[in-house]
Structures are given as C-alpha cells and as structure tokens.
C-alpha cells in the first residue's frame, strides 16, 4: 500500500508542491538529453548512409576525447589539437573503410553490427594503450559554472552543449540538403544499387560518412569529457544512445535529437520523483524499459520509415 502511494500519489504531490523545481528538473533533463542526442546522431548518420549499425560510436567518442586530451597534455594548443584530432578521425574513417567495410559489402546487417563490436574493442584498446587509462580532465575553455535565473539553477556548460548541438544539427541539415555530397549521401541512404548505377562512388561516400560520424564523436567527446572527465565509462554512453535511437527511429536526424530529449527528461523526472519508491538508481535501466515498451507499439520509432512486415 505504501508502495502504491509512493508510486501513484506522492510524486504528483511533490510536483504540485514546487512547480519551479519540477521545471528545473525538466530543463536539466533536456540539457542532458542533448548530450545523448549528440552520440545518437553519430549512429544515425552511419546507419542512414551505409545501413551499418555502428556499435563503435561510443569507442569513437572515447578515442577522440583521449587523443585530444593526450595532445593537449603534450603541450599542443587547443585549436591545433582539435584540428589534429579531427584529422585523425578522418584517417580512422579511411582505415575503417579500407580494412573492414570494403570486405564486408553485401553481408547481412547483423554481421556488420558484430564487426563494429570488434572495432569497438580495437579502438578502446588502442586509445588506452596510446594515452593511458587514467581519468583525465579535459578543459578547452568552456566555462563550467552554475548561475541562477528566474529562481532556477543553470549550468553554462550544459547551455553551451545545447548551443553547440543546435549549431551542429543545423549545419548537418544544411549539408545534407544543399551540397552535392549531401545529396549523394541521401541517395546512397535511399538505395545503394540505384546510387551506384547513377555513378555515385559508394566507397568514398562511406569514407565521408564515417568521417562525419567521427567528427560528431569528437564534438560529443569534447562535451562529455568536459562534463564528466575523459575516462573509460564514456564508452557506456553509446549504450545509453541505443534507447534514444529506438525512440527516434534509426534513420532520422531530428528523431535522434527529440529521442535524446525525451530520454533525458524522462530519466531525470523519473529518477527524482519515482526513484525513491523503487530504491533509487533506476536511471540505469529506465531508458531501456521505456524503449522496450515503445517498441511494442511503434517498432519503427517516432520518425523512422514505416516498414510494413507481417511476420
């Protein structure tokens, strides 16, 4: 009975009690949702263009962040370090295409998925051998302070993350919509064979897509690294991005953003208000359960392409 009250009555009383706090929870949820979206975005880009579900996205985030921190520890200025890391991500994309994807053309999606799990381990290992596995502090000059506005607490880092994410999504949208390469990417995403037959070079398209995903990983790595420090657990945020993808649909860029926001808000609100009833730490699985429940009713996600299959 007490449990029922904790689940169905008290949380709502709490919300009604202090709406400002509720709003604050929602906003902090939205801001952490942006961070999930950034990771999910990398998945969507690759999945759209090559049909590969890239499990190694989290490892790419870690790898980029580690490299950046490592370079900065060597005394390289921030801007040059970022540029070098970006260059490295492009090189990585070329390597992945040459050593892996090229040999796996025409394989089933699940085989490609498992190959990226292998890639995940390679990147984790290489990154940690090259730069060590201690927790590192990343500071590229984004201020991390809290300030109060209209009775609510904000963090400048979260706000910058949201701003950067917005800029990135807009840039990507423009890139996809208005450049020749973007159009080619959309063509490949739509139909591999048709794209090949009108002369779009599939292999270089894959390199471009993986590079873009690598750059998105770098941005995500910078923001996550500044927030929680560069450490191995960054890999696990890739796992957090999966429910985001399910909610938003695997093929939709806006879906990744909105899915991330929903998961971010849902997690925060549930943890703050319903967490005590379940003994806390439900953040770990809530997103998955939400995604699972969602899958039962809308398997293609909020914005995914509708696939009609009756088996």
């Amino acid at each position: 009975m007490e449990f029922m009250e904790n689940v169905f009555v008290l949380p709502f009383l709490d919300i009604a009690d202090s709406p400002v706090f509720f709003l604050e929870v929602i906003i902090s949820g939205l801001l952490s949702g942006v961070m999930y979206s950034l990771v999910a975005l990398g998945f969507v880009l690759i999945f759209k263009a090559s049909g590969v579900f890239n499990f190694a996205q989290g490892a790419m985030v870690l790898f980029a962040a580690l490299t950046l921190v490592g370079l900065m520890e060597q005394g390289v200025p921030v801007v040059i370090a970022i540029l070098l890391t970006a260059l490295l991500m492009v090189v990585l994309a070329i390597l992945i295409e040459h050593m892996m994807l090229r040999h796996l053309v025409n394989q089933e999606g699940i085989i490609l998925f498992m190959a990226t799990i292998g890639l995940n381990f390679i990147l984790e290992g290489v990154g940690q051998i090259a730069w060590g596995s201690d927790v590192k502090k990343l500071d590229i000059g984004i201020p991390d302070q809290s300030f109060e506005y209209a009775g609510m607490l904000f963090n400048t880092l979260d706000l910058s993350a949201a701003l950067i994410a917005a800029i990135m999504v807009t840039t990507l949208a423009l890139f996809f919509q208005y450049t020749g390469t973007g159009r080619a990417l959309r063509a490949v995403a739509d139909d591999h064979q048709a794209a090949l037959s009108v002369g779009i070079p599939l292999k270089s398209i894959w390199i471009i897509v993986w590079s873009v995903a690598g750059l998105v990983a770098l941005v995500a790595g910078i923001l996550w690294g500044t927030k929680v420090g560069v450490q191995f657990s960054l890999v696990l945020i890739a796992l957090k991005a999966l429910p985001v993808l399910i909610l938003g649909g695997f093929t939709s860029v806006p879906g990744a953003i909105i899915g991330g926001l929903i998961i971010g808000v849902g997690e925060k609100v549930v943890e703050v208000y319903w967490g005590p009833a379940f003994g806390g730490a439900i953040e770990g699985w809530f997103a998955y359960m939400l995604a699972l429940a969602f899958l039962m009713f809308r398997p293609q996600g909020l914005f995914g392409e509708k696939i009609i299959e009756r088996v």
Partner: protein, 358 residues
C-alpha cells in the same frame, strides 16, 4: 586416407540418422570424452581446473545457449549475462530455502526459472528483429541486474550483497561450497556440458532445430510452410535461457564460489557473444571451440610473452587482449564468417585425401 566414409554402408535408417554416422567421428568423440573424463583429471592440477577447465566448460554451456538463440534461431541477444544471473540467483534462493533438495535438481530447476524469464523478454522478438531486438535484450540485461542488486530478498539480505555457494553434497561428496574439491567441481561442470551439448545437438537436427533455422533464414517463408513464429521464437528463447541459466548457476556454484551482480554484467554477455562468433554461428561444436579459444587466449597472453622474454605490464596486456579480440572478431567475420567450426570442417575435408591426393 584417414578420414573417409568410403566402404561404410548403412543398412538401417537408424544407422543413417546417427549423430555421428562416420566411424572416425565416433572414435574421435570417444577419444575426446576419454581425454576429458580420464586423462585430464589424472594430469591437471588445481590451477588448471580453476583457471582454465571449469570456466571453459561453463562458458561452453552458455555459448551453446546463445548459439541456439542467435546462431540457429537468428535472434540477436545481448542479455546472456542477465539470464545467467537468473540461474545463479535462483539456485542460491532454492538452495537456501530447501537445504535438503538435491543440488543437481536445483541447478535444473534454476534453468527453468531462467527459461521463464527468457520467454517474457522474448515476447518483443515477435514484433521486432535485428538491432532493435538486441536493444530490447539490453533492457533485460540492465533491469534484471538492477533488480538483483536492489531487492535484498534475492541475496537473503546479507550485508555484503553477494551470493555465496553453500556447501552441498551428493552421495557423500562435497559438490559446492568452499570445501568442494576442484576435481569434483570439474566433473560436475563436465557432466553438465556433455549432457547438454548432446541434448542441443539432437535438438538442432530435429524438427525443432529445423524450424529455428527456417525462421532464421527467412521468417516469411517459414511461416508459409507452417512454422509458427510465435511458438518457435519463444521456444528458442526459453531453451537458450535454460542453458544460460544452468551455466550461470554453475558459474557461481562450481567456479567462483561467491559473486555479486557485477560478475554478470554486459561484458559477460559480449564475451559469450564473441565465443559464438569466433567458434561459429550455428554450430554446437563451434560453441565449445569458441569458449575454449576465448578462455585460453588471455591465459596465453599473460603467460607466453614473459616466457619468451618479453615482459608486458598487466594493464597493457589487458588492452592488447582487447585489441586482439577485436581484430580476431573482424578477421573472422571477413575471412571465415562460420568460425572455427568451419575451419574444422575444412580440415576434415582435407584429411579425406591427405597424404595421397590422387
């Protein structure tokens, strides 16, 4: 020359349908069993039992379970660790609640518990497939471990939060608990592996196994020829989880002795998945070979470089191990998607003619 079926005539359907229709295969299996049951116990010491052989057999059971689901029925699962945890915790609860119950029966009952939960988390597979299903099984992985961690009832509210194998005996011999001899635990794991591998082998070549493969290869066609996807998929989930559950129970009771939920985290699920990828999707023999490979590789990496004079720091060797795992997985997917099992098959083909090719 040494491996050829020429001249081996089968006069009855019974002989034709034998698991190992070729006499050399029968000899080979007999030899393997002889080595496993007689030669190894005579020769191995405590270290080998505890570090290599017992985990190998237990992982092999889990790998067979996952292979049934992923390799035969085509449903990807990242929740193996959670299903193993169910087996372990169910065994612990049953063991402490009914101290007189035969421990082997407890293992089997725990398997049924895991099977039940497996069915529940298999239900989404009816609507979703591929990656989506993989994510859905992740929900099982995180939720179940959280549950075992949070609800004290599962570990009898003991303050350390771990489950410990209580001493249990069978025919006067300690099987579990701190006093059980490594040899006894070795025989228990080996016994389970032999029986369950044989059962799986029979299962996958019968009607059930064929319906799994039909669903895996093309679900629409399978449904048209009269296979019920609902029943078939859920059965795959149930049987796979049963295997994982028993493996999980042995994991704690015959190997680790005591553990927390962290022992069953997502990395265990990945490890079992690598076993079946490297061993060979859709092969019982491959599951065992994959388990052997993944268990032996770290031991090889930690022991061999110092032996030949290259000292490697522990954390470095851990990362190198990661890289080698990754490279091997990619390599196997590119070069030999059917894994070690396929290499074994090729070797047998070659043996037909070797050493006289004409």
């Amino acid at each position: 020359m040494f491996y050829r079926e020429a001249g081996q005539f089968k006069n009855t359907y019974h002989a034709d349908q034998a698991i190992f229709p070729i006499i050399q295969d029968r000899w080979f299996m007999a030899l393997v069993l002889l080595v496993a049951f007689v030669v190894i116990p005579l020769w191995a010491n405590e270290y080998w039992f505890q570090a290599v052989l017992i985990p190998l057999y237990i992982y092999a059971i889990a790998a067979i379970g996952l292979n049934i689901l992923t390799g035969y029925a085509g449903q990807v699962s990242l929740g193996t660790g959670a299903f193993m945890a169910i087996g372990a915790y169910a065994t612990y609860k049953l063991c402490t609640a009914f101290p007189d119950l035969n421990i082997l029966i407890v293992f089997v009952i725990s398997g049924f518990f895991a099977a039940g939960v497996g069915i529940v988390f298999g239900i989404p597979s009816l609507r979703i497939k591929g990656f989506y299903l993989a994510v859905a099984t992740l929900a099982a992985q995180f939720f179940i471990l959280w549950l075992f961690n949070k609800v004290g009832w599962f570990y009898n509210n003991n303050p350390s939060g771990t489950i410990t194998a209580p001493p249990r005996e069978l025919f006067g011999i300690m099987i579990t608990g701190p006093e059980a001899h490594a040899l006894t635990r070795y025989y228990v794991s080996l016994g389970f592996l032999s029986v369950m591998a044989l059962a799986a082998k029979n299962l996958v070549r019968g009607r059930v196994g064929r319906s799994w493969m039909a669903i895996r290869d093309m679900d629409i066609a399978a449904e048209i020829i009269g296979i019920e996807p609902l029943k078939t998929k859920l059965m795959a989930f149930a049987i796979s989880s049963f295997y994982c559950g028993v493996a999980g129970a042995l994991f704690i009771f015959c190997w680790l002795g005591s553990a927390e939920t962290e022992a069953f985290d997502i990395f265990l699920s990945f490890q079992i998945m690598f076993m079946i990828i490297i061993g060979g999707l859709g092969s019982i023999m491959g599951s065992i070979m994959g388990a052997a490979f993944i268990t032996l590789l770290p031991i090889f990496l930690t022991n061999v470089p110092p032996m030949i004079g290259i000292p490697i720091a522990t954390d470095l060797s851990k990362h190198i191990e990661e890289i080698i795992f990754g490279v091997l997985i990619v390599f196997f997917l590119i070069a030999e998607p059917h894994g070690l099992a396929r290499l074994w098959q090729i070797a047998k083909e070659k043996l037909r003619q070797w050493p006289f090719p004409y």
